[in-house]
């Protein structure tokens, strides 16, 4: 009896399957795709990042749609709808956290994937177009990260938009109209959020799906990049034949030969995202996007921190050209790469410039990101009222010098200058300033400023300046004399001194 039912079920499934197959005729294509041979050595843990990026992309699609069910893309209500997601809707916080951590993982995996294919020479003939499509996928991923940060409509998003707008406004001639297009009006408001919503939810994902499709199609048509061997040179005339022979001679079917590692890695990444989301929770939203709350220090998300540091450190004169020309040069370099280096060695062992370029970019971005976590260029806004002067700088000082210490705090020198390792780092630490500058130099520096310091001449009375400089002159190590003007000593010996 049981056998009969089983046979019946199998027969029904077969008939339904055949019904679809007669119309869709996909089985052949799917079987062919699954069984297509790939070089044996590409079944490697180095080749799992592309599929992992695809997996995370799918996760972002699903969680994004889930969030869109609740999120209200209105400047007046977005923030409270995020609060509702975080606190009122069952597991809303977890879906937000998955989407947020998914975004971070996505950027990281896309970056690793790009470095891997570059170091393995996968951009060379005949996979130039795969690389170029990948460059656009990177741009779209960054675009998704930025627009996503805007949809988390909090203080950082509001002022981050202001920063983006200010950068765009620097485009010659077209700047102001571009700003209006970006904001959808004269100021950051409802129209701005609506268009970023359209970009994040329709425009960029639509383009992403299309480009991911082309990217995958190219990988299938051209075959996965073989494991690079030093000395195996890519030549346009012979490569296709050599690759074909390699897969014939030493190939494994994609399923199950190569896909197993992809499956395990993708699942591990999904699990990592879920763990991060569960343990660390969703990102924000931060404070309300209320422009009248100005006690805020907006910061970009992690993957844009390097840009934040760069914008602080570039000299004003070169900032606009670098901001406007830099991205164009980077884009041209990335797109031009497979045309300039489309043949030759694939192995990173024989491509020192490629390896050095990657190291240079990694160290550069890493250093800038690290700096942006400390923001030494920002004044510490509450240092003057929140951080007392270390006692050792006050003990045994004269009343005038102590008065100077008061001036030092009340005039907010501390916001930019540290004492005893606390305070701002915008200007130099002043613990030993008296060793570096004489009394005259201190007075000049305080009154006239210079070297990136504001002038305080209009802001300090002569007695205040006298007291402040008297205090600053006490800032030298015990046993080391303060700097002095040698000519003054000589003059005073001659009885001509002040």
């Amino acid at each position: 009896m049981r056998a009969l039912i089983r046979e019946l079920v199998v027969r029904v499934i077969q008939r339904v399957g055949n019904w679809f197959e007669q119309r869709l005729q996909l089985t052949g294509t799917i079987k062919h795709t699954m069984a297509h041979p790939v070089p044996r050595r590409t079944a490697s843990w180095f080749y799992v990042f592309g599929s992992a990026a695809l997996t995370v992309f799918l996760l972002q699609l699903v969680t994004g749609i889930l969030l869109a069910i609740v999120y209200v893309p209105s400047a007046g209500e977005a923030w409270s709808s995020l609060q509702a997601l975080n606190t009122q809707i069952s597991a809303g916080w977890f879906i937000r956290a998955l989407h947020g951590w998914g975004s971070n993982f996505m950027l990281a995996i896309v970056a690793i994937h790009m470095v891997q294919v570059f170091l393995f020479g996968a951009h060379k003939y005949p996979r130039e177009l795969t690389w170029i499509v990948g460059v656009f996928l990177l741009l779209m991923t960054l675009g998704m990260a930025f627009t996503g940060q805007v949809l988390r409509f909090d203080q950082d998003a509001y002022w981050g938009l202001g920063i983006g707008t200010s950068i765009v406004s620097r485009v010659p001639v077209l700047g102001p109209p571009l700003v209006s297009l970006l904001l959808g009006g004269p100021i950051i408001a409802a129209a701005t959020l609506s268009r970023f919503f359209a970009l994040h939810v329709f425009v960029i994902p639509g383009a992403l799906i299309a480009f991911v499709g082309i990217h995958l199609l190219l990988v299938l048509k051209l075959g996965i990049n073989e494991w690079p061997m030093p000395g195996r040179i890519v030549r346009r005339a012979t490569y296709l034949q050599e690759y074909h022979e390699l897969t014939e001679r030493d190939g494994v079917p994609f399923v199950p030969g190569a896909i197993v590692k992809d499956l395990f890695f993708s699942a591990a990444i999904l699990l990592s995202i879920a763990v991060c989301a569960f343990v660390l929770g969703p990102f924000g939203p931060g404070g309300q996007p209320d422009p009248t709350i100005i006690q805020t220090a907006p910061r970009p998300d992690f993957f844009f921190l390097w840009l934040y540091a760069l914008l602080s450190l570039l000299p004003p004169s070169s900032e606009t050209p670098i901001l406007l020309i830099g991205p164009a040069i980077a884009l041209i370099a990335l797109i031009g790469l497979p045309f300039v280096a489309g043949q030759g060695e694939k192995s990173w062992r024989r491509r020192p410039i490629a390896v050095l370029t990657i190291l240079l970019i990694a160290v550069g971005l890493g250093a800038l990101t690290r700096l942006a976590l400390h923001t030494p260029w920002s004044p510490v806004m509450d240092a003057w009222s929140g951080l007392p002067i270390p006692t050792k700088y006050l003990v045994g000082r004269s009343p005038l010098e102590r008065q100077g210490a008061l001036v030092f705090q009340s005039k907010q020198c501390r916001n930019c200058h540290s004492l005893g390792d606390t305070g701002g780092q915008r200007g130099p630490a002043l613990d030993q300033v008296a060793v570096r500058l004489t009394q005259d130099q201190l007075i000049r520096q305080v009154i006239q400023g210079g070297g990136n310091m504001p002038a305080y001449g209009n802001n300090l009375s002569p007695p205040q300046t006298t007291a402040l400089v008297a205090f600053l002159q006490t800032l030298h190590p015990i046993g080391q004399a303060p700097a002095r003007d040698a000519s003054q000593t000589e003059l005073s010996k001659l009885g001509l001194g002040p």
């Binding site: 209105s74 400047a75 007046g76 209500e77 509001y158 002022w159 202001g162 920063i163 707008t165 200010s166 950068i167 765009v168 406004s169 620097r170 485009v171 700047g175 102001p176 700003v179 209006s180 297009l181 904001l183 009006g185 004269p186 100021i187 408001a189 409802a190 129209a191 309300q288 996007p289 209320d290 422009p291 009248t292 100005i294 805020t296 220090a297 907006p298 934040y308 914008l311 602080s312 004003p316 900032e319 606009t320 260029w377 920002s378 004044p379 806004m381 003057w384 009340s410 005039k411 907010q412 020198c413 916001n415 915008r426 400023g449 990136n452 310091m453 504001p454 002038a455 209009n458 802001n459």
Partner: protein
């Protein structure tokens, strides 16, 4: 000319079909472009702007710099709290003011006023400005943006159009013809 070279009826119809689609597409592109560019074109119409009240003069003691906020004239109900914009009002004496945009001239972060040191400081990239709005230090390429103002019946009015940005200086000047922003000390009453 052989018969095979002569354009067939089908080939001509194909061309006409393509042209027909192109013509309809071009026709539809006009309203689509107008729709997409409406923030730019609408802006130019609003460019002359209206005078916005910052409230009674009593709110601004002489010799001090105070934060003021106003609702943008183009605000809509869905703007929520973003309809509000803030600015710094410095009253020099009776009818002489300087009204600064909140946005740093570097990249638009909100600058904070420190009356103790008479400086505006920016929390983002460390720009600083003197009390008259001129650049003191840091990355800003210029001083703070100023709105033009006038005093009418004991009320301070400013002309604030679009969000001030480094690249929009020309349009900012254009919108404030009655009194040039650079000479903020001149009253427009």
């Amino acid at each position: 000319m052989t018969t095979s070279d002569r354009p067939t009826r089908r080939a001509i119809l194909l061309k006409i079909g393509v042209l027909f689609n192109a013509a309809v597409g071009a026709m539809l592109a006009v309203p689509v472009l107008r729709y997409m560019l409406s923030p730019v074109t609408r802006q130019r119409k609003q460019g002359d702007g209206t005078w916005i009240s910052l409230g009674s003069l009593n709110k601004f003691p002489a010799g001090q710099t105070r934060l003021a906020s106003y609702q943008h004239p183009s605000a809509t109900p869905s703007d929520g709290e973003t309809a509000e914009t803030t600015c710094w009002v410095r009253r020099l004496e009776d009818d002489t003011f300087q009204v600064f945009a909140i946005n740093c001239a570097h990249l638009g972060c909100p600058v904070r006023w420190f009356p103790q040191s008479n400086l505006f400081m920016c929390p983002c990239h460390g720009g600083a400005y003197y009390q008259d709005g001129s650049r003191a230090s840091g990355p800003p390429p210029r001083g703070l943006f100023e709105y033009s103002y006038k005093v009418e019946r004991g009320t301070l009015l400013i002309k604030a159009g679009e969000m001030p940005t480094p690249g929009a200086q020309a349009s900012l000047l254009k919108g404030s013809s009655p009194c040039a922003p650079s000479s903020g000390s001149s009253s427009c009453a």
